[in-house]
Amino acid sequence: MRFTSIRRVAGLVLAILVVAQAGLGYAQAQKTIRIALTGPIVTLDPANYRNRNTESVIRNMFDGLYTVLPDGRTVPEIAEDVTRIDDNTWEFTIREGITFHNGEALTADDVAWTFNRIVKEGAMEGQTSPRKGLMASLQEVTVVDDYTVRFHFAAPESRLSVVTAAVFMQIMPKDYFESVGVDGFIAAPVGAGPFKFVEGNYSERIVLEKYEDYWGGAPDMAGEAGPARLDRVVFEIIPDPASRLAALRAGDVDIMQGVLADQIPVIESTPGVELKTGPGTNLFFFGFNTELAPFDDPEVRRAMAYAIDYDLLVEAVYGGRADSLYGLPISANSEVQDPSLEPFHYDPELAKQMLADAGVSNLTFTIDTIGDNLLLAEAISQMLQEIGVDAQVRTWEAGALLEAVGTGSRQASVHSWGNASGDPQWPLWPVEPGYSYWHDDTFLDIMNTASNIVDNDERQAAFRRAYEIVVDQVPYVTLLVPQTVEAARSNVLNFEPHPGGRVNMHRVDLATP
């Protein structure tokens, strides 16, 4: 026996390595881009998800009436325009000459059917679409003629709300869906987007190929209109951030989503790989249960807002790749924001004084959060220590924390809140009863009525008033919005991260070596 077996084993392993290496010396098919997604997708039915990875795949196969560009602008896509008929009714005109991947023309029938399937109770094969909540008060869509539809809302809606609803759903082919059924459709989805479905497995890999007869895409989108430049898009599901980065560095994928702050220096020093950053939409906040002492006292909450070093959070936790909110519900640069509204700033002495004035001493509490937000919560805990507050951080599994906050049993927590549409009302939602347990009649009145103000200026003015109340009463302390950070190999052209975190391959290209 002796060493012969070891030698044989070593020989076998070596042989396998050599064979395997030989197998990888292949030429990639022309213009195939491989994108590392952060997790599995859940469906290929555009009406049945609320999940970012799923959106990335679906939005490359399906186009919507309107779309949001990487710079955050909302622009027409399949729709040519939208006009107001009355406060509750808006009319969309649809571009002619658009075809689905099966060659059928996209008409008003498809648009009306698509939206009615999600806004009507039980219209999604007996269930109600999880996207219904994104549709404002939309009740029904009716066909006016082949290329005109009317959106009928239950309440008056502003242009922003109408267009935002239009962004959140992509058009599906009515006839095809009705002939194959939902199971047939998710097995072989057909849309009117730049890529058509080839094959895929939700948890491993999804392959799309160029739709040669694509209508061209949103006129306002950067780059040349027309069919996609890429022949194939391959989504690879790689849940672990370290493995995603390794795959990018090894050249096994071309775009990596979900870059962590501590990976940024590695990416910046890797030749052939570039960091891609853009604005984000996820609002992070330090929340309180305002019914529980001592956070029932606005002065204590205000002290918390002055105890936080906002710039340091951005630097230390996000490596500078985040935009600080300084306690304002929306970025000070936003056109909605009232420039006279004074942001909070870091002033530990003032914070200490405020606590003393409120008669609070030796304050001790627990900040509850999930593992992903641990660094942020720990940084806040450190900052609070400087004003003599002992705040311990406790991490929870997401589902358990969501429930605990919902029952009002948690004193303070660090959370995030999605706001992909940029509508000024959404950053205020965490303040609603159920999170902050804060009741202010004027504020609630605005929240219940302002979203249905049709005139945009009036609507913004109403929300501005709500912001003022929030900044005065501090039911939560808004911290920052992390930027969308992704990375791509240098030969990827025309790729910008999208604020909503999805990837859009409409006009992306690969440089030929």
């Binding site: 026996m1 077996s5 990888l24 039980g122 050249g251 096994d252 992909a420």
Partner: protein, 336 residues
Amino acid sequence: MSLEFLLRRLVQLLVLIFVIAVTVFVLMRLTPGDPVALMMGQDQGVTQADIQRKREALGLEDPLLVQLGRFMSGLVTGDLGRSLVIDKTVRALLIERFPATLELTIVAMLLSFIVGLPVGVIAAVRHNSVLDRAIMGVNFLGLSMPSFWQGIMLILLFSVTLGWLPSFGRTTYGFEPAHVTGLLVLDSLLTRDWAALRDTLGHLILPAITAGTAYSAVVARVVRSSMLEILRQDYIRTGISKGLPYRRVVRVHALRNALIPMVTVAGLEAGSLLSGSVVLETVFAWPGLGRLLVDAIYARDYALVQSTVVVLCAMFVALSFLVDLIYSFIDPRIRW
């Protein structure tokens, strides 16, 4: 092997599955967190009414006993239900994920035995020598090295730095063999797709080494200790004193008997690997059962968790039954 034994095991299996099904059903309901609230996320436009509507549609508002009854009757009829989160049936998801886990299990087990057996035998034959100590030292390292760290290091060395092996997944896009069994190496062989065979083998190497390292250390330790015991037995001494070559004594008389405890080791290893390793599957983006189950637990996907746990337990019990069968086959002294 008596019929009575078979029947007894079958009844045990059914009772066990029933107990596990009820336990996992109850435990999932006791875990805080609501699948629908998690599904909808903390995002704009999600109202309590939306959540309520979805809960009703998914049958989560029905009395618990009704839900349990639905689950149990589904198990009896073989209908495992539909995932609450992923737009697929539980059966489809299990069929999709299981081959990946099975393939990795087979290769990792092969690797752990190919490495562990000879190493253990050498260590036993050279008991207390420098070689024995060195082997046991490396062995200890193999046992104690965290697999996520080992996995990432292997990727960094062989994929990122050397560029020899792929960094993730089961195949390279464009090299997938035609689907026959879902076991890609077998599928490549069946379809005589040699490029796919090379590619799938290449993808298996790093995960299999990572999964197999700890087990090869276990195999080596067990072989070593059982060999040491057997080499001291009278019949070995008799063989040697009768003039049989030492190698032959070791190979034929000692090793054969030392292999019997290996069946137990193999059974345990198979059971543990088949239920999927979350760490391994995460590091190598390997689409197996481990991640499916853990993701389902995080999402409170009751239907998927319940059925997957029941299927995994049934598999584990079946394996232990198989181990018993093999025992009675290889060791004539054992009779059931």
